[in-house]
């Protein structure tokens, strides 16, 4: 592995690791706020237990999210100094605001986690909501920074110089809205289904059923609403990508030849040498419709893009298929869940529905990772689209391979420990909260 590849892999690893914790950090506070609210309103002790049990989990995730985020803010410079030297002052605005959001989040979390029975109960509840709002705000801000890399704005690039810098215009670049919207919804989908899945498993095992049923419902409702919105927001993203980054769209769809009424390619194995996709399902005209709302529109293919500006096709294509596939699956499950809630109450007692939720536990997070792979790998070879190539940004320091190995080892061990702690947390539920009569 050469140093350049190592640097890219290390960046991808760190971000891919961090994103899991940041999704949870953005979304769990809202789940807790709901169950906390229900407790304050109904005085039903199970809701208090749910809130507390979740908050213990969140503390673990939060700490891991905070340290992995701290690592990231150094890594941008450690791995991509040439990029940061120019990009820092341009896309730094969201990061400076994000600092405030993080701070508020950390302060509010201090109040929330340690403030039980110490403050006015609504003040205490409110600090939990603040954790969620500021987490969401920091997610939106940092995605705006990433969107700038896809759709640079707020400067003029003249003869290799970055002039007329306007950090506010850079922050509100064209891509920020579609990306931030899609990311926020994704965080709710991923966390919602992951949490619901774990509680569904415990319900199937007949443990502390009241506790797990209440937790399940909160998470599942959030996740299901988000999963219904996600394809709509994904469509907005796809239309934007079609306009802004035709090369990325072409790679996502393994669309080799520019054509009108382009088919949507589902699955298949892209064969770059022969410029075809084998074994794929093709829906005529659907790609044209997805990209430009018109079944006959022309869609730029990879043949229009010089070889040296093409992103890796296979990875981008597979990742996109995985994300969309999961998106459709979760949407169907959500529809089933809502039918169960409103029309067919009996389904809720049946095992198959819970089993489907258990099966979906990791899917949202897999889709998140796949989605980021589409966005980031699909942007290659550019680190700033059409302005700076990734290879020109990498640190001159040799031996990045070793740092990649070390971080890989650290993150793998951390993942194991976090999973282990979570397992223990769940196993302890009957001991900690088991005496609750189910009413």
């Amino acid at each position: 592995m050469d140093d350049f590849l190592a640097a890219r892999s290390q960046m991808a690893l760190s971000l891919g690791f961090h994103i899991i914790f940041s999704c949870i950090g953005m979304v769990m506070p809202f789940f807790m706020a709901v169950s906390h609210y229900l407790y304050l309103k109904t005085n039903h002790i199970t809701y208090k237990h749910v809130t507390k049990a979740w908050s213990r989990g969140v503390a673990i995730f939060f700490a891991t999210g905070a340290v992995s985020g701290t690592v990231l803010s150094f890594e941008l410079g450690l791995l991509w100094p040439k990029f940061m030297e120019h990009a820092g002052p341009i896309f730094g605005m969201p990061f400076s605001l994000e600092g405030t959001a993080f701070f508020i989040e950390a302060i509010a979390l201090g109040f929330f986690l340690y403030g039980w029975d110490k403050f006015n109960k609504w003040f205490h509840w409110f600090t939990g909501v603040v954790v969620g709002i500021s987490g969401l705000a920091s997610g939106i801000l940092v995605v705006a920074a990433n969107a700038w890399m896809n759709s640079p704005a707020g400067f003029d690039y003249i003869n290799g110089e970055y002039l007329n810098i306007d950090p506010i215009a850079a922050m509100f670049n064209d891509a920020w809205f579609s990306q931030a919207l899609h990311m926020c919804i994704a965080a709710f989908v991923a966390t919602g289904f992951a949490v619901a899945g774990v509680h569904a498993l415990m319900m199937l095992k007949q443990q502390s059923v009241d506790f797990h049923a209440k937790s399940f419902k909160i998470a599942a409702v959030f996740g299901a609403i988000a999963a219904l919105l996600q394809p709509i927001s994904g469509d907005i993203s796809a239309k934007f990508v079609a306009k802004n980054q035709p090369a990325k769209l072409a790679a996502m769809e393994a669309h080799f030849h520019t054509e009108k009424a382009a088919p949507l390619i589902i699955g298949g194995i892209p064969d770059t040498d022969n410029q075809t996709v084998k074994y794929a399902l093709k829906i005529p005209g659907a790609l044209s419709f997805m990209a430009h709302s018109d079944f006959n529109a022309e869609v730029t293919g990879l043949d229009q893009i010089p070889k040296e500006n093409q992103p890796p096709i296979a990875i981008t294509h597979y990742a996109f298929q995985i994300m969309v596939g999961i998106g459709v699956l979760l949407m169907l499950l959500s529809i089933a869940y809502f039918i169960a809630l409103w029309k067919k109450k009996a389904w809720l007692q049946q095992k198959w529905l819970l089993k489907l939720f258990v099966f979906s536990t990791p899917l949202g997070f897999i889709a998140v990772e796949a989605g980021w792979t589409v966005t980031e790998v699909g942007r290659q070879p550019w680190i700033i689209k059409d302005v700076m190539r990734t290879i020109d940004a990498v640190t001159p320091m040799p031996g990045i391979v070793y740092s990649f190995y070390i971080f890989t080892a650290v993150y793998i061990s951390l993942s194991f420990i976090v999973a282990f702690m979570l397992y223990r947390q769940i196993k302890m539920v009957p001991q900690l909260y088991g005496s609750t009569p189910s009413q």
Binding site: K52, S55, R56, A59, I60, F62, A63, T64, A66, V67, G69, T70, V71, S73, F74, L76, G77, L78, P81, K82, M84, E85, H86, G88, P89, I90, G92, M93, F95, S96, L97, E98, G99, T100, F102, F103, I104, A106, I107, L109, G110, F111, L113, Y114, K118, I165, D166, P167, T395, M397, S403, I406, L414, I417, M421, R424, Q425, K427, M428, L432
Partner: protein, 338 residues
């Protein structure tokens, strides 16, 4: 506006040194606590830092963000030539933050604690050590942008006796800050006595480590004495710091715990003041005699303005709530059960 940004940068570094330092110090104290007292120390410590440790570490992020937004070439030079100590420091940050949380939140308290504890303790030591090494390296003129081999560029940029001495000095200061901070948080007289003894010991260690820094500076030809004693603000700060040490030693056994904390914080601010004042606006001295200056390396003007506004507005939100957080848990410390 650039001065607003610089003031925020300096303040965040200072607050990180004091608050984050006290936080690291808590782990360092544990390293120097006999096994018999460890559990108790841990409890007291947890009560003291549990609710605020996340917020304490935010100052580092603020400083880094100010650097990369406002002074990109300083950020990139440092992260290129300090790559190795930065990575080691980051590994320390990862290990410490997670071990601290894991050992408290693990639902089952068993053998795993034997894994978390040493990780927490050693990483609390290693992280400020490398922070100090990096800080020391900014003035040793060992960073050489023209270096053309690996050792000169990436190893000897930080590996020298002076930086190492600064690292140890930082560790001692952290331990000192933590002990002083925790005195006010103890609930029993015997606990209190123990932390007073620790505070004294770490204060002495800090002074000794400071002396070592001076000693090494002679060997390595770093004009540290001229920097500190060459101008009246330096001398004044040195005298004030010394007076505050004397005052502190005279009130150990009195109930003025907040005064003690103030004095300890004051000493640290004087140290940071002395070491930055003389070079200001330079913050990194390079091998070839050049220096990276905050005024010359600033990013473009519009960005600096926006950054300054973001910081000012942010602090309107942050400072009152942060003060309220610290105040609430002073009055009414966190209990150990969650």
């Amino acid at each position: 506006m650039i001065y607003v940004v610089i003031a925020f940068l300096w303040t965040s570094i200072l607050l990180y040194l004091i608050l984050g330092g006290a936080d690291f110090g808590a782990g360092i104290l544990e390293l120097f606590t006999s096994d018999a007292n460890k559990t108790k120390t841990r409890k007291t410590m947890y009560r003291a830092i549990g609710p605020i440790w996340e917020a304490n570490h935010m100052w580092l992020i603020i400083a880094i963000v100010i650097l990369f937004v406002g002074f990109p070439s300083i950020y990139t030079t440092m992260s290129t030539f300090m790559h190795i100590p930065l990575v080691l420091m980051l590994l320390g940050i990862i290990a410490r933050g997670t071990a601290f949380t894991f050992r408290h939140y693990d639902a089952v308290k068993d053998e795993m604690q034997k894994i978390y504890n040493p990780i927490f303790v050693y990483s609390s030591f290693v992280t400020p050590l490398f922070l100090g090494i990096i800080a020391g390296s900014t003035v040793t003129r060992s960073i050489n942008p023209q270096a053309n081999n690996f050792l000169d560029a990436y190893i000897f940029s930080w590996l020298n006796a002076f930086s190492f001495a600064v690292g140890l000095f930082t560790v001692a200061i952290c331990g000192f800050l933590a002990a002083v901070f925790i005195i006010g948080q103890t609930q029993e007289q015997s606990e209190r006595e123990r932390f007073i003894r620790k505070a004294k010991a770490f204060n002495i260690m800090a002074v000794l480590a400071g002396a070592v820094v001076f000693g090494v500076s002679f060997i390595e030809d770093i004009p540290l004495t001229t920097w500190v004693f060459g101008s009246w603000p330096g001398v004044a700060a040195f005298i004030l710091a010394t007076i505050s040490v004397i005052v502190l030693w005279s009130i150990w056994h009195k109930p003025y715990t907040n005064t003690m904390r103030f004095l300890a914080g004051f000493q640290v601010s004087m140290i940071l003041f002395i070491t930055t004042w003389e070079h200001y606006p330079n913050i990194v001295l390079l091998k070839n005699g050049d220096a990276l200056s905050l005024l010359e390396e600033q990013g473009n003007a519009k960005t600096i303005d926006a950054l300054a506004w973001a910081l000012l507005l942010g602090s309107i939100f942050i400072l009152p709530t942060l003060v309220y957080l610290i105040y609430s848990f002073q009055k009414n410390p966190a209990t150990d059960k969650t």
